[in-house]
Symmetry: C2
Subunit: 436 residues, 2 copies
């Protein structure tokens, strides 16, 4: 019999089990004795893996403001949901919180501090607190970037731009310490000094001092401002350019906690082979990988010849039934691919809803009218289905032991009306002792 | 009157004059007195600018061997030239030496030392001496590269590969010290650790230790072996990746004497705007730029979708009359663009003849039958015409002074049967005293 052709990529599910699940043996004591024969209820509380999404859309809700774009009473597009704008915002928040455990909040300098000295701190603090109170990790994006940076930098000489940049990092990271535990410290450094769409202070500075001193400057400031924060370098350039930048930055002694990899796929799903190739190349540095900006559209694809996605502006980019089926299929394939590699620790989807989506793309998991697309249900059926332990009732053996297999994360264990929280932090066989 | 549109790129000729020519005032003495009223003949001997070409084709001639591919008496294609293979080789050498002043010789490890411990040193020494005796600068290419590297490296562990690489650099640079003054120390580092066409020792090593330590290792060895040599980093990747690599290498303290930029244009002439853009980006580091590998074809263009030029293999790639006209036009535009920017110090054309050209491409300035193409004549009319001072007879004034404007380089000055050589090394007004 001729051999069948080898698959291009390994099946993800066994790898996901290997890298993401633990076979737990809990040894319980109840008032010091094994609760032999008692019922033990185990239920999953959270994933260690960061299933993230931008939380930009929920900043108004968290602040008690009218939903964005609806404050003037006009309706933007169809509204299938019942109730007024506030009810619709609550509904969207419900969908968000039912799927994600990590929020990215916007710190674009030009929006955050359009007038020097008047930062939007309080509003963002309320948003960060809203997510934190609901059990979400929060990340700020970005502290340094040439796009949407503050226009007023253009009035400063480069040395003062550098000082303002460092001061800005110190201020935000101090103001949000304890609320925001991770930051995209600097974004898109590969293109930063040669960005030529328009003049801006950050490109000017980076061109003068060079990429590596720029990264070192902002990371030093960030590390000093909050030594406990997770600091990311983030880029969209998945070529050898980013590798070369990373190697230069690491050689220069900059401590990076995680590498941010963007994957806006407006021009089409990368596919498993490319995705695994990217992961393989960037996992060489031994650092956690975060897929920081992930997008899959549920409409037509952006033409491949567009180099800067920002150049694609069309009046209407509809979500279509066949596009929604494709998006649902691709999101499952993409998330499975990401979780199949142990270096990947986080993925942030770039926008739950089509309403107000970047480039007007139908990139949301929820339509503009508030109804979930198939991709929402498909992703949820992984995160809170296939990869989630529904509450299970076990019986403790004579030694007070129960066994279960679950995804890495936190679990509540309940016996006789008492509860404890345990964390499965490493894949494979795990022994945990629980005194109740 | 509406303003006419601004040209995309500045006219090169005034810039070439500004950056490449000197207005010389020679103050002569003949036996201590000004040779007032005497005739002074000035003739150019050489260009400071390195107009280079690979000298691979002339290695057999320099060694008294039958010309490559003709040793068995078979004819390879049409032969318009009179005489046998030896005469034709001499004819090609004459064309070569009439146009170029700088030769690149092949040091591909796999060809140079196919059996460990048996390097092709003597043959290459004779070739280097042949060019040096004819007034040419000589460069070796390359000392470290993953392509055409020695197969026997695959039998070694990485630490021994590193040792063999360093030893190889020391050996070649010592053996050729005084003959070869410049080296492409390492080639194509951007892709080196992720090159995946076939397994090889250099990719293995670079993947393990990283790009910057790899570059540092080979440059340290090269600098130590010959402190007087010009050491180049060379790459085909003109994207931000090469910038990031360069910045990392410079931050790590590696001293690079010149940046090598490849420009194989089998897929079409870059045009002035792209060329100037590349020069602008890579001139930011304040290092001399060498266009180390320049190709323009005189036949059909390679399709743009080919990513690795080596993947394009066709049985026959003819030179065509219209292709030859295009090549001649483009070579003039390209060389004028390069000389218009002061950072560019050298350009090496990748092959004088179509016979045996890389990829079988009609990239030569001379056809396979030995006749010059229009591009040869066009380039010669610049290098030895528009940019060259034909012997000129001047008359010394009362102070013994003569004035002329010439391209930077060496000139012979003759008065009353005596001669001296002067060098114009800086553009603009230049005063030189010559005692005869």
């Amino acid at each position: 019999m001729p051999p069948s052709p080898a698959p291009a990529v390994p099946a993800p599910d066994p790898l996901i089990r290997r890298h993401r699940t633990a076979d737990a043996v809990l040894t319980l004591t109840l008032d010091g004795a094994p609760p032999a024969g008692r019922e033990v209820v185990v239920r999953q509380l959270n994933h260690d893996f960061l299933f993230g999404c931008i939380g930009f859309d929920l900043v108004p809700l968290a602040n008690g403001e009218p939903p964005a774009g609806q404050g003037d009473g006009r309706e933007d597009g169809p509204q299938a949901q019942e109730g007024g704008p506030a009810a619709r915002a609550e509904h969207l928040a419900g969908l968000w919180l039912d799927l994600f455990n990590s929020a990215t909040l916007p710190f674009y300098w030009g929006d955050f501090e359009p007038v020097r000295g008047r930062p939007d701190t309080e509003r963002l603090r309320r948003a960060a607190r809203w997510f934190a109170e609901r059990g979400c990790a929060v990340k700020g994006h970005p502290l340094a970037w040439h796009t949407v940076t503050a226009d007023w930098l253009l009035d400063l000489p480069n040395a003062e731009i550098a000082r303002a940049q460092v001061d800005r990092i110190r201020r935000e990271m101090t103001d949000f310490a304890g609320l925001i535990g991770a930051w995209d410290v600097i974004n898109e450094v590969v293109i930063m000094p040669i960005f030529d769409k328009y003049d801006n202070g950050i490109t000017r500075l980076c061109r003068e001092i060079g990429r590596i001193p720029m990264v070192k400057m902002v990371f030093d400031a960030a590390r000093e401002a909050d030594p406990h924060a997770t600091l990311l370098l983030n880029d969209f350039d998945m070529s050898a350019a980013y590798e070369c930048l990373i190697e230069g930055v690491l050689e220069a002694g900059v401590e990076i906690d995680a590498l941010g990899l963007q994957s806006h796929m407006h021009q089409g799903y990368w596919g498993e082979e490319k995705t695994l190739g990217v992961i393989e190349r960037f996992s060489r540095y031994g650092l956690p990988l975060h897929f920081t900006e992930t997008t899959l559209v549920s409409g037509h694809l952006m033409p491949g010849e567009i180099v800067d996605l920002n150049d694609y502006r069309i009046p209407r980019w509809p979500s279509t039934p066949e596009g929604e089926e494709r998006q649902a299929d691709e999101i499952v394939r993409h998330y499975k691919t990401l979780l199949s590699h142990p270096s990947v620790r986080a993925v942030t989807y770039w926008g739950i809803t089509d309403a107000g989506a970047w480039l007007g793309a139908p990139a949301g998991l929820v339509r503009a009218d508030g109804t979930p697309k198939p991709a929402y249900e498909a992703l949820r059926s992984l995160v809170k289905g296939e990869w989630w332990l529904e509450p299970v009732t076990l019986t403790a053996d004579d030694g007070g032991r129960v066994r279960f297999t679950g995804f890495l994360g936190e679990y509540e264990v309940a016996v006789a009306g008492r509860t404890a929280v345990v964390r499965l932090g490493e894949p494979g066989e795990t022994a945990v002792t629980v005194a109740l």
